[in-house]
Amino acid sequence: MSAVREWLLDDSPSSRLQASFGRAWRMFSALLRNPLAVAGMLIILALIAMAAFAPWIAPYSATGQDLANRLVPPSAQHWMGTDELGRDIFSRVVYGARITLMIVVMVAVIAAPVGLVIGAVSGYFGGWADRILMGVTDIFLSMPKLILALAFVAALGPGIENAIIAIAITSWPVYARIARAETLTFRDAEFIAAVRLQGASAMRIILRHVLPLCASSTIVRVTLDMAGIILTAAGLGFLGLGAQPPLPEWGAMISRGRNFILDQWWVATMPGFAIILVSLGFCFLGDGLRDVLDPKQRENR
């Protein structure tokens, strides 16, 4: 163990692999010193575990109905009670982790690279390319995100895939702005000039040398945005435009519980706690990551 540690913390790494593992390890241990970031990591690990092992964790099926046990309050058998069709809410929350995780991962995978490439191209080339791309970005940035997502879903039709597309369409401009700002800071740096003199194409410079340097601030931003993405997705589900029944999406579950909120409060509140917890987890981790990866942005505290 200590040999591994020494190898990781070696001041003069002998290979590129060792250097990058060492850097990751240093960041990770810096993160571990921040209690809130650790809490965030634990929450997200729990989310991932729930999503991966849902059939083993959930005591009941997510869709199986049991009409004899409708609207049972929380008890030892049903930790979070049951809904109007007798489905165990805890099991549905556990399976819902899969949907939430899929949405945030898909949005991040679609929106972040698109934003990064647009921002990097814009910052690297400058001139007209920059003006046009940033003009479009600014227009998207000055739109209300939720409304735009709603309108896109209205046109595309309800459903989880369309919700993901709509959220991704409204999320990329932030990353484009970040990537452009970062690119501008080192566009004229000597290492870029050196690569260019070696004959590297613009595409190669952007992909291999510019984008990796934008990665850390983008990762911070994506993590901080996760809470917003989860809330938007849940909002779409709540309005009936996201995941469709009987999928155990948390927002849609709250929407079902709306009719029972006065007498059977647990139906609507329990999935809400799951949303809050996971969003908080991403906020905590994002704050922690920002302190480690992006000290310039560090908030005074």
Partner: protein
């Protein structure tokens, strides 16, 4: 609101954090080459520069609105596989289909269609709503005051509580007050607005009976007051009906407080960070060394300079509340623009959806840009 509305805003919060956060570097335009030349020449006086930047502002504003229209046009005409089919139904005859297609102008090139769409929007013709049967523009005029009333009370609550909380948190950094405010701020990013609305209804309406339930007013007061402004609070006062006024207040209080919570969370967080910047400055130390009372140091020396930054934050927060009210209105059956939008969404009433999107988007952009301009006009450092 958080995302959702505030998704938080989200959404919108995230964006705000980027534009308003930290240094405010994003707020400043980069000087265009033309502007730079102006400066280098040093010929143009203040007036010319003012006119140039006004022109530039109007151009940016016009382009942004054009962009908004392009997006709604795209959503309405391009994404749906066949908008004609949505109108005539899939059992229409070939002739009916062709006639509808021609009537809707879909046989023309896209650019022509877009230009005529822009023309329609500028003349206020947003088409007719399928569900209400009236023109969308008329519908929107009727529902907008309800949203305005709620969002305005929401921002008042948010500012009245959020700013002092932020200042207190900054002056007692690390204390339990600071921690509580920090947690509140984080909750503002992670609680779904619709969920908070439901829980609020269950607790304060059904449980404690402190506030009235969903809707703007009790059913037997409905229609008793002539709509002058459309704002029930104002109308009932004009009509001299205190009973109706208090009834409207008790309906408004809960949804507005929930909206207020989300803007409070954001405003307190930003105020705290602005204040910490100021409190760390040397002139604050100087004032303290001179023996200026602590209260005066905080509220005069440190707070005065951040008022301008706060205007931007409050403006963005207000625009966000208009957006965030979509979720809250659905929960509270509040007959505002958000409720109108979601009802239209569920009925696939595209004209109404696009009209509401346009109006909310325009208000959002306008408030956004105005707070941007105010910042640059009021802050001597941002003037160029």
């Amino acid at each position: 609101m958080k995302a959702e509305f505030f998704v938080c805003s989200k959404r919108f919060f995230n964006r705000r954090a980027l534009t308003a956060g930290g240094s405010g570097a994003f707020l400043a335009f980069e000087p265009s080459p033309a502007e730079t030349r102006l400066h280098a020449g040093a010929v143009a006086g203040h007036a010319a520069r003012g006119a140039a930047s006004l022109l530039r502002f109007l151009l940016v504003l016009a382009l942004t609105f054009l962009g908004l229209m392009a997006i709604t046009f795209f959503i309405g005409r391009v994404i749906p596989i066949d908008p004609v089919l949505a109108v005539v139904g899939d059992r229409a005859t070939q002739e009916a289909y062709e006639a509808a297609r021609e009537r809707m102008g879909l046989d023309r090139p896209l650019v022509v269609q877009f230009l005529s769409y822009v023309g329609d929007v500028l003349r206020g013709q947003l088409g007719n709503s399928i569900s209400t049967g009236r023109s969308v523009a008329e519908d929107l005029g009727r529902v907008f005051p309800a949203t305005l009333e709620m969002a305005t009370l929401g921002i008042i609550i948010g500012v009245a509580l959020g700013v002092p909380m932020g200042v207190i948190a900054a002056t007692r950094q690390g204390s339990w007050v600071d921690q509580v405010i920090r947690v509140l701020g984080l909750l503002g990013y992670s609680v779904p607005a619709f969920w908070l609305g439901l829980v609020g209804l269950a607790v304060f309406y059904a449980g404690l009976g402190w506030v009235a339930g969903p809707g703007r007013i009790d059913i037997f007061y409905d229609g008793l007051v002539d709509p002058v402004t459309g704002l029930y609070l104002v109308d009932s006062l004009i009509a001299g009906e205190p009973e109706i006024f208090w009834n409207a207040v008790s309906h408004l209080l809960l949804p507005a407080s929930i909206l207020g919570f989300f803007s409070l969370a954001y405003i307190a967080r930003m105020t705290r960070s602005f204040m910490l910047d100021q409190l760390g400055q040397e002139y604050v130390t100087t004032a303290r060394v001179k023996g200026v009372a602590e209260r005066r140091v905080i509220w005069r020396h440190a707070f005065y300079p951040i008022r301008i930054q706060l205007i931007t934050v409050i403006g963005l927060s207000y625009a966000g509340l208009l957006e965030g009210s979509v979720m809250i209105e659905t929960v509270f059956s509040w007959p505002g623009i958000g409720n109108y939008l979601t009802t239209a969404l569920l009925n696939a009433d595209m004209n109404a959806v696009l009209g509401a999107t346009l109006v909310i988007g325009s208000v959002f952009i306008l408030v956004n840009k105005i707070s941007d301009v105010l910042y640059r006009v009021l802050d001597p450092r941002a003037r160029r």
